[in-house]
């Protein structure tokens, strides 16, 4: 009987591929889950070598892909939903594609995580990346997500958390869960979050305003509650950013294994967090730290996570940016890229993007938007985005709206912009991928 659900999912996947309708990263699993309610649990039971999860608002896909690279490099065979299809349907599709795997590394949507734990099995390791405001109309407040996580984690046995110590809400969840926890964190000298919106202003325990000695990204930083004894915990894995030339991020990473300098090919403090989460996960499942760090340094981004393509003398870099924390961090990384540049913002308000686009007003464009020769907005809410950027000081003569991604790139080609940065929301990524299909991928 076990073969039937798998065959069904495979058949659906093949049918979708044959009709050319996208990459079929979700639909086969959706069909399998609908027809065979125990599809996920049956697969999960057969994972003799275990199941690990990555969840949180930002960095799930990159953290999980980094960890997958490390584990594959260490010779592990694994099932992994690499394309960011992180709902139960995407997870089931991954199982259908790789039915004999004995180990699973799953990226799990932060709202689905409790359900995923229930439907699959107790995970050996869960990486908690962060909790930022994102799609408030769909996910609700970050406090609600944290409560859901806690309800899911408390009853677990044999689970280790790999948790972001710099996020007060993640730390609170880890502490309250009672589970053994490996904390990771980053030191950013001087902080730098400025007056950026924080999603966790008050102590998760006693609701007193948190105080920070430094805050570098939304609520991430060195925090303490002045009222109770809640504070940033000591880090088992720690990274200090090191200024360096080149497009990536360099950090001095330390842990019980010692310390060494790692040069990532992907930029920004957010990718240092991703690497630390992946490192923590890898160490927990038995990979030795030096070899994990070597693989992490060579990590190449997947499409849409700071990936680069080229045609002629024009390069386009694409980075998904769908909430204030992610966009702020993207803008910081953009600012570090030297040379003239053009920016394309693709703002959609479909269900998977979040219908509520007010988050763009919480982005610190005023302080972080780099100087750009041209700025073009497109997507279903391009006029709202243009208004937002106009508020941030982009002059009218450099600010355009375009009907689609292709039209935006055409406009920039006319203006001889050779270095383009495309920042789409989630559903816009599909249009971007289709538009750039004929372009040559560039390794970084």
């Amino acid at each position: 009987m076990e073969a039937l659900p798998r065959a069904t999912a495979n058949l659906v996947a093949a049918a979708i591929r044959a009709t050319g309708a996208g990459q079929a990263s979700s639909l086969p699993g959706k069909v399998a889950n609908a027809l065979f309610p125990r599809y996920l649990s049956d697969h999960a039971r057969r994972l003799d070598d275990g199941l690990v999860m990555v969840t949180g608002t930002n960095g799930k896909t990159t953290t999980a892909n980094m960890a997958a690279g490390v584990l594959l490099g260490a010779g592990r065979d694994l099932v992994h939903n690499a394309e960011g299809a992180n709902l139960l349907s995407g997870i089931a599709t991954a199982f259908a594609r790789h039915p004999r795997a004995r180990f699973a590394l799953l990226e799990v949507d932060e709202a689905i995580m409790p359900l995923a734990v229930q439907r699959l099995r107790s995970p050996g390791v869960v990486v908690l990346t962060n909790l930022f405001r994102d799609q408030l109309d769909r996910y609700g407040e970050v406090d609600r997500l944290a409560e859901g996580w806690l309800r899911a984690l408390r009853p677990l046995e044999g689970t280790t958390l790999v948790a972001n110590a710099d996020d007060p809400l993640v730390t609170h969840v880890a502490e309250e869960s009672g589970l053994p926890t490996v904390y990771f964190g980053v030191e950013v000298e001087g902080g730098g979050a400025g007056n950026e919106v924080s999603d966790v202003a008050v102590c998760p325990r006693c609701a007193t305003m948190l105080t920070y000695t430094a805050r570098w990204l939304s609520q991430l930083g060195d925090y303490r509650c002045p009222q109770c004894d809640f504070a940033r915990p000591p880090r088992d894995l720690s990274a200090v950013l090191v200024p360096a030339d080149g497009p990536g991020a360099t950090a001095r990473v330390s842990g019980s294994f010692g310390a060494c300098e790692v040069r990532l090919r992907v930029p920004g403090v957010h990718n240092v967090y991703n690497a630390l989460g992946a490192l923590g996960l890898s160490i927990e499942v038995g990979v030795d730290p030096p070899s994990a760090l070597r693989t992490l340094a060579a990590y190449q981004p997947v499409f849409g996570r700071w990936s680069m393509v080229r045609r002629g003398d024009t390069t386009v870099r694409v980075n998904l940016a769908k909430n204030p924390a992610g966009m702020n961090q993207t803008l910081r990384a953009l600012g570090d890229v030297p040379g003239a540049k053009a920016l394309v913002f693709v703002l959609n308000d479909n269900i998977a993007d979040g219908r509520d686009i007010s988050w763009i007003w919480d982005v610190d464009f005023e302080e972080l938007l780099p100087t750009a020769d041209w700025v073009v907005t497109t997507g279903t809410r391009r006029h709202e985005m243009a208004l937002r950027l106009s508020y941030a000081g982009v002059p009218d003569e450099r600010l355009d709206t375009a009907a689609g991604v292709g039209a935006a790139l055409g406009l920039l080609a006319q203006r001889r912009a050779h270095s383009v940065f495309l920042l789409p929301t989630y559903t816009a990524l599909k249009e971007v991928r289709a538009t750039l299909a004929g372009w040559e991928a560039v390794a970084q």
């Binding site: 279903t380 809410r381 709202e384």
Partner: protein
């Protein structure tokens, strides 16, 4: 020329792009050479005396109790400010706190300021949050004007002897039933509209600025400003809200029985009790 403004609880009540409202007021004043001097008042802090404008946004449930407690301390000050004719503008949770009370699902009560005669009941069993794009029609001098925004609230607000801000054209409004949105009494205005509401609804920003400027005794009327980008963003938002409303109507027949509290506003929703200038 200066407008003295207070932003209540900017760090804790800042959900859903509320800082865009502050930016809109500041910018449209600055373009007319008027400075808006913002005073940020956090929990426990003392506000300046006799401001021309007070703004309060929305926040997460966790902070709502702390804010409601702190507001009792500020109640005499806010009452005096409103009685003096200054503008008080509140969004979402801010709206709820201006009413008499918020009754939680378990019957517990959060005391409000009672500046506006209204109260809010938490979503009952089987009632959904009222979430989505919304357009309302607001009576204004020279004919009704539109406001486009986004609403996301579980609480159902019911008005007493107070005018609604406007009438719902598409979306849910105060409670999803009576067709009213927001509330106003004199220079106290409140709405559920996020979006944020002010940047793309430039006429409304100017209306609010006019009230604050009058209190600040700035004698010259506000000069007109270009608003093409604002209008394009507003038209885009109205288009999205109308498409959503049509989609809801298509699904409505089947869903209405399941969603007693989230009914589509009937086309015959009662108009505001009297036009408010």
């Amino acid at each position: 020329m200066t407008i003295t403004a207070v932003h209540l609880y900017p760090t804790t009540m800042n959900t859903y792009g509320d800082r865009g409202n502050v930016a809109a007021l500041t910018r449209r004043a600055a373009l007319r050479d008027i400075e808006v001097a913002w005073h940020h008042v956090e929990l426990g802090e003392t506000p300046p005396r006799a401001p021309d404008l007070v703004f309060m946004g929305g926040g997460q449930d966790r902070v709502q109790h702390a804010v409601a407690d702190d507001l009792q301390r500020l109640k005499p000050w806010l009452q005096e400010t409103a009685d003096d004719g200054a503008l008080v503008f509140a969004v979402c949770a801010g709206l709820q706190l201006l009413g008499h009370r918020y009754v939680a699902a378990d019957g517990g009560e959060l005391r409000g300021l009672g500046l506006l005669d209204m109260e809010t009941l938490a979503a009952g069993r089987g009632e959904w949050r009222l979430i989505g794009n919304i357009v309302i029609e607001v009576p204004a001098p020279g004919g009704p004007h539109l406001l486009a925004g986004f609403e996301n609230h579980g609480g159902r607000t019911h008005l007493g002897a107070v005018e609604p801000l406007g009438r719902v054209l598409s979306g849910f409004g105060n409670n999803g039933v009576d067709g009213f949105e927001g509330a106003r009494a004199g220079t106290i205005l409140a709405t559920y509209l996020h979006g944020p509401v002010l940047p793309k609804n430039a006429w409304f920003t100017d209306h609010l600025l006019g009230l604050a400027a009058a209190h600040a005794d700035l004698d010259s009327p506000l000069a007109p400003l270009p608003h093409a980008r604002e209008d394009a963003a507003q038209a885009e938002a109205i288009g999205v809200a109308e498409r959503d409303a049509r989609a809801r109507r298509r699904r409505g027949g089947r869903l209405r029985a399941l969603l007693p509290g989230a009914r589509r506003v009937p086309a015959t929703a009662a108009p505001p009790r009297s036009p408010t200038p």
